[in-house]
C-alpha cells in the first residue's frame, strides 16, 4: 500500500495509504533533523526567542506586503516589457532587450545597492521601501516578461489563422485570443515567480528594510541563538511558499485538461 500505482494500472492510491506514506516521509525528515541537532550538542533556548516574537510577526508581514506589492508592479513591468519587445520601433525594442538581459545577468544584490545608493540618491528618492519594491519589481519584471513572451509564442499559429479568418483586427486578436490563453499558460510559472519574489525579498535587508530575514537575524544577534531564530524563519517562508507551489500544480493540471 506504500507504492504509487503503476502507470498502466487503474487502481487508485487510497487517501489512507497516501497519508501514511506522507507521514513516514515526514517522520524520516524529522528524525534526520533531530539527530543532526542532537549530535551538534546544541542547547536549545526558546525563551529569549519568544520575547522577540513581535519582531518575527512584523518581519513576516513586511516580507509578505513587500512581495505582494512587488508582484503587482512586476506584472505591469513584465507586460509592458513584452509589449515593447514586440514593438516595431527598433530602438524601443532593443532597450527592452537590454533591460531584460542586464537584469537577468546580474545579481539582485548589486541591483538593489545600485538602485538605492546611486539611482534613488540622485533622484532624491529617500523612501527605502519604495526603492526596495521598485528593485524587486524590476528584477522580477524581467523574468515575468520572459514568462509572458514564452506563453504568447506558445499560442499556436492555427489560433492566429482562425482569428484572422473570422475577421478580428490585430489588436482584437491579442485582446481576445492571445492574451487570455497566454495568461492561463503563464499562471504556473507566475506562481513560481511569486515564490521567488518572497525568497528574494530577503535581500532587501541590505538597505535596512525590516523584512523577515533581517528581523530574524537581528533576534539571532541580540539573543546569540542562531537556530532558534532561523527555524521560525524557514517555517515562516514555507508557510508563504508552500501554498503557492501547491496552487501552481493545481493550475498546471487544470490547464492541461483545458487545452
Amino acid at each position: 500500500m506504500l507504492f504509487a500505482p503503476q502507470e498502466d494500472s487503474n487502481q487508485d492510491e487510497s487517501k489512507k495509504s497516501q497519508l501514511l506514506s506522507f507521514l513516514l516521509a515526514g517522520l524520516a525528515f524529522s528524525l534526520f533533523t533531530y539527530f543532526v541537532f542532537a549530535a551538534a550538542d546544541y542547547h536549545w533556548d526558546w525563551s529569549s526567542i519568544y520575547e522577540y516574537r513581535q519582531k518575527f510577526v512584523n518581519g513576516w508581514l513586511a516580507s509578505l506586503l513587500v512581495s505582494l506589492a512587488a508582484l503587482f508592479v512586476s506584472l505591469l513591468v513584465g507586460a509592458a516589457t513584452v509589449i515593447i519587445q514586440k514593438s516595431r520601433f527598433l530602438p524601443l525594442r532593443y532597450s527592452a532587450t537590454i533591460y531584460v538581459e542586464l537584469v537577468r545577468g546580474t545579481p539582485l544584490l548589486v541591483q538593489i545597492l545600485f538602485l538605492f545608493y546611486v539611482v534613488a540618491d540622485s533622484l532624491g528618492l529617500d523612501n527605502r521601501y519604495v526603492v526596495g519594491v521598485a528593485a524587486l519589481s524590476l528584477f522580477s519584471g524581467a523574468y515575468i516578461s520572459e514568462i509572458f513572451r514564452g506563453a504568447i509564442e506558445s499560442v499556436g499559429k492555427s489560433q492566429l489563422q482562425s482569428a484572422k479568418a473570422i475577421g478580428l483586427t490585430h489588436y482584437q486578436t491579442y485582446r481576445y485570443v492571445i492574451f487570455p490563453q497566454a495568461l492561463r499558460r503563464s499562471l504556473p510559472a507566475l506562481a513560481g515567480q511569486m515564490a521567488n519574489i518572497i525568497k528574494d525579498s530577503s535581500l532587501l535587508s541590505i538597505i535596512a528594510i525590516r523584512e523577515f530575514t533581517l528581523n530574524a537575524r537581528e533576534v539571532s544577534a541580540l539573543t546569540f541563538s542562531s537556530f532558534e531564530s532561523y527555524l521560525p524563519l524557514a517555517l515562516g517562508y514555507l508557510i508563504l511558499t508552500l501554498p503557492i507551489m501547491r496552487m501552481a500544480r493545481v493550475i498546471e493540471k487544470r490547464i492541461r485538461f483545458e487545452t
Binding site: 528524525l31 549530535a39 545608493y117 537575524r217 546569540f224
Partner: protein
C-alpha cells in the same frame, strides 16, 4: 516507500550523524581555531592574497606561540561568531568583540585587552552634537547587526527609527548621503570612517558608553580561559600591544591624543 529505501535512508542518516559527531575540535594538541570577521581593518582584515592580517590576527598568532599550538583563522560573519563558538566550530573569538553582560550569558570572556567606547558618525551638516539629541521621533539611527551599537540602540533608542545594516560600509554610506542621522559605532572605526569621507561626514568621537574588548571562549572552558588570561598579561608586559598600536594605529593614536580622548592600547 519500500523497505529497502527506508533502510537506505536510515544508513544515510546514521552516516551524517556520525560525521557531525566527529566534527568537534576538542583535542589539546590540534590547531586552535580562532574565529573573526575579516572586515574590520586594521584589526581583522585580509591582504591582497586573501590571507588574514591585522592586529587580532597577530594577537592570535602570538597566543598560538605562547601555547605552543598551531593557529587556524576562520572568517565568520560577526553575528555568527557566538553561534560558531557554541557549536564548537571554533575555539576562540578574537574579533574586536566587546565583553557585554548579555553575551556573557552564553559565552565566557577573557580579561579585557582594550578599552574603547561607542560614539557617533553624523553627516556633515547635521545639527547633532550628542547622543541625547538622537532619541527623538523622526530621527534615523544606523547600527550594524550584532554590534554593541546595535545592542545599545535596541535598549536605549526607543523613540527614533533604528536601521539595521549587515555591513559597516552601507551604514557609513547612508550617513554620508544624509539618509540617516547617525551611525553608532566604536571610536576607532568611526575615526577611520570619518577620515575616508571627511567632506560629507563628521565624527563625534567622545564616547557616550565605554566598553572593553575581550577574547570569547566557550562557556565552561576554564582551562583555556586561564591560559588566554595569562597570555594577555605577558603580552602586555612585553609591550606587545604597544608595538601593534604603533604598527597599525599610529595615525589614530596621534589624532586621539590631539583631540584629548584617551587611547588605550
Amino acid at each position: 516507500m519500500s523497505v529497502s529505501s527506508v533502510l537506505k535512508a536510515a544508513i544515510a542518516i546514521a552516516t551524517l550523524v556520525g560525521l557531525v559527531a566527529c566534527g568537534g575540535n576538542d583535542s589539546r594538541t590540534g590547531p586552535l581555531v580562532v574565529g573573526m570577521e575579516l572586515a574590520y581593518p586594521p584589526f581583522e582584515m585580509s591582504d591582497k592574497n586573501d590571507q588574514p592580517i591585522g592586529i587580532s590576527v597577530e594577537i592570535a598568532r602570538a597566543l598560538g606561540e605562547h601555547l605552543g599550538r598551531p593557529i587556524k583563522i576562520e572568517n565568520i560573519p560577526f553575528d555568527g561568531l557566538i553561534a560558531s563558538l557554541r557549536t564548537g566550530k571554533i575555539d576562540l573569538i578574537i574579533s574586536s568583540m566587546t565583553a557585554t553582560e548579555q553575551r556573557a550569558k552564553t559565552i565566557d570572556f577573557s580579561d579585557p585587552y582594550l578599552e574603547t567606547g561607542l560614539c557617533l558618525l553624523v553627516s556633515k551638516d547635521s545639527d547633532i552634537q550628542e547622543i541625547g539629541q538622537l532619541n527623538q521621533p523622526g530621527r534615523k539611527v544606523a547600527v550594524k547587526n550584532g554590534t554593541t551599537g546595535h545592542n545599545y540602540a535596541a535598549n536605549e533608542i526607543t523613540a527614533a527609527d533604528v536601521l539595521l545594516f549587515d555591513k559597516e560600509s552601507e551604514a557609513v554610506l547612508e550617513v554620508s548621503q544624509g539618509k540617516v542621522d547617525a551611525f553608532i559605532y566604536d571610536q576607532m572605526s568611526t575615526y577611520k570612517n570619518w577620515t575616508k569621507r571627511a567632506n560629507t561626514t563628521r565624527a563625534i568621537l567622545k564616547p557616550f558608553k565605554k566598553e572593553n574588548w575581550a577574547v570569547g571562549i566557550k562557556k565552561g572552558n576554564e582551562e583555556l580561559r586561564l591560559q588566554v588570561n595569562e597570555f594577555l598579561r605577558t603580552f602586555k608586559a612585553q609591550g606587545g600591544f604597544e608595538k601593534l598600536g604603533d604598527k597599525y594605529l599610529a595615525e589614530q593614536k596621534e589624532a586621539f591624543a590631539k583631540l584629548g580622548y584617551p587611547f588605550y592600547f
